[in-house]
């Protein structure tokens, strides 16, 4: 069973985020001007904060919540049908063939319901990935520009890979978030 919209938030999965930002980091490294190489500037961006602190990320979260609500609605409808069929199958005074027929109907509907729940969970995960990718691709473009203009040789995006960050000089998260907001409506 997937999480309800209330409890669900977009959390960039480490592998996906790493892939997206690692490619951006490499690009920055390759494209960085020679002067930048001499300075060896290094930056850090926290992708989770980029999602949480930008309008684009917030809108993507709202979109996902709406999507989950739509899936919940379908699941509730299906659950109600199963409950109604169960009630019918358990009604007293049914003849044996009639009860058998209703139980068979109930079994089939219950199996459909389980399948629906599994599909919903899979669909929600897929939509979450799509929305996250959409936000991250835009953040990646910002990161690339920032890297080029600021002369950064490399920008880390994995908090786990960084032991210490001097937030004042190295953490570019706020700048990326600000720039991303500036580029969105």
């Amino acid at each position: 069973m997937y999480q309800t919209p209330m409890s669900r938030t977009i959390r960039p999965r480490a592998s996906l985020v790493r892939t997206l930002f690692f490619s951006a980091g490499i690009l920055v490294f390759v494209l960085a001007p020679q002067a930048g190489l001499a300075e060896q500037k290094i930056g850090f961006v926290n992708p989770q904060r980029v999602v949480n602190e930008t309008r684009l990320g917030q809108t993507a979260k709202a979109d996902l919540a709406r999507y989950v609500a739509e899936k919940d609605r379908l699941a509730k409808e299906s659950a109600a049908q199963v409950a109604a069929l169960r009630k019918e199958a358990e009604a007293p005074g049914l003849s044996a063939p009639d009860r058998g027929r209703r139980e068979d109907l109930l079994r089939r509907k219950a199996a459909q319901h389980e399948q629906l729940l599994a599909e919903n969970a899979r669909d929600v995960k897929a939509e979450e990935t799509r929305l996250l990718q959409y936000v991250m691709r835009r953040a990646e473009a910002v990161l690339e520009d920032l890297g080029k203009k600021g002369g950064y040789a490399i920008i880390f995006t994995d908090p786990a890979a960084v032991g210490y960050v001097d937030k004042a000089s190295v953490d570019l998260t706020e700048r990326v978030a600000h720039e991303l907001d500036g580029r969105s409506k």
Binding site: T59, A62, Y67, E70, A84, L85, L105, Y134, V135, S184
Partner: protein, 357 residues
């Protein structure tokens, strides 16, 4: 010779000016709906439902134009909005929350909306707004009578198994057509264990328009039916399709349910997954409008597109893009349908609107 002609022209000009002045003086503005001053704060929702997303809040003293009143809800517009089209609505408000004191006018508006709604069931090739205007202009009682809402007679039932529709209330009478399990029909005139069976969208309670007769015990209320809904008879959607675009871009127009307003769209792609035969066929279309309409309108638009573009009994998923959006990127809205055309799932991605196009 010249003087009388000049006088005539001057007279006509004076008349035209007077007419314009009168129109302005009457406060008609764009000439539709009703301008209402809001009392207190009133939430505007994206669709006419209390649990729909709130898209804005009307402030005390703010003026809005309202129209398309239906079941206690009204579409709200900018007071200066010149075009009466539901697609241009800012959203929907509950009339009881509006508390404008202009109920008489709202009532008129409601009547107009009802008439308009019913006019669309007439199924002529004309746009709905045109039909309404025609009906109102002629003022014919006959037309008004004919234009009853679809729910005005009988009820919608579902065949709980494959069953025959026959020429009479008798199992030995001629076979006319087969109903599939899950197929929706309109039924009425129950007698001797048989219903008269009509097309679900039939508006006229007339036996000559019935498909035939079906056993009542096999036609169950929609809520009681547990299986999946199945397709309508093939001819029904074909009649309702406003236009066929095929795959030619920019060819079609999908009529919305409001104001005879048509939204044109172009088909970008029809994607069939040959490796997964059960996967839906994905139809990507681009709407010819710069900003998306309210969700409720968009729902109507995608249904019309589905009706117009669906081939045979295919499972068609409609994906909607707006101008400037990447043809191969995420769609703004996605709609999936039951086989009878009812919306099964519908969602949209506002995040795409946040990006400059």
């Amino acid at each position: 010779m010249r003087t009388p002609a000049l006088c005539l022209v001057a007279g006509l000009l004076a008349l035209a000016c007077a007419a314009t002045g009168l129109a302005k003086a009457s406060g008609a503005g764009p000439g539709w709906g009703r301008v209402v001053t809001v009392h207190g704060e009133v939430p505007v929702r994206e669709s006419p439902a209390p649990d729909a997303l709130q898209v804005r809040l009307l402030k005390d003293g703010q003026k809005v134009r309202v129209d398309f009143v239906d079941e206690g809800w009204a579409a709200v517009f900018d007071p200066q909005e010149p075009v009466r089209a539901e697609t241009r609505a800012e959203g929907y408000v509950r009339l009881s929350e509006l508390r404008s004191g202009g109920d008489a006018s709202l009532l008129r508006s409601r009547t107009s909306a009802k008439l308009e709604k019913s006019a669309k069931f007439e199924k002529s090739g004309k746009p709905e707004g045109f039909e309404l205007a025609e009906a109102l202009a002629k003022g014919r009682k006959k037309e008004a009578k004919k234009a009853q809402p679809a729910q005005s007679f009988g009820e919608i039932r579902v065949a709980d198994r494959q069953m025959a529709v026959r020429a009479g209330r008798d199992k030995d009478s001629d076979f006319l057509r087969l109903l599939n399990a899950g197929q929706r029909v309109r039924v009425d005139m129950q007698a001797d264990g048989w219903f008269a069976v009509f097309a679900p969208d039939e508006t006229v309670r007339d036996l000559s328009r019935a498909w035939g007769y079906g056993r009542d015990k096999y036609l169950v209320p929609e809520k009681a039916y547990a299986g999946h809904p199945l397709p309508e008879p093939a001819e029904a959607p074909a009649k309702e399709a406003p236009a066929k675009s095929g795959q030619k871009p920019g060819a079609a127009a999908a009529a919305t349910a409001a104001g005879g307003d048509a939204v044109s769209y172009s088909v970008l792609a029809r994607q069939v997954d040959r490796l997964r035969p059960l996967a839906p066929v994905v139809l990507r279309v681009r709407l010819d409008m710069p900003a998306p309409p309210a969700a409720e309108i968009l729902r109507k638009v995608v249904r019309e597109i589905w009706k117009a573009e669906r081939r045979k009994n295919e499972d068609l998923q409609v994906e909607v893009l707006l101008p400037g959006m990447d043809q191969n990127g995420l769609a703004f809205a996605v709609a999936r349908f039951y086989e009878d055309g009812r919306l099964k799932e519908f969602w949209w991605r506002e995040v795409l609107l946040r990006t400059k196009r």
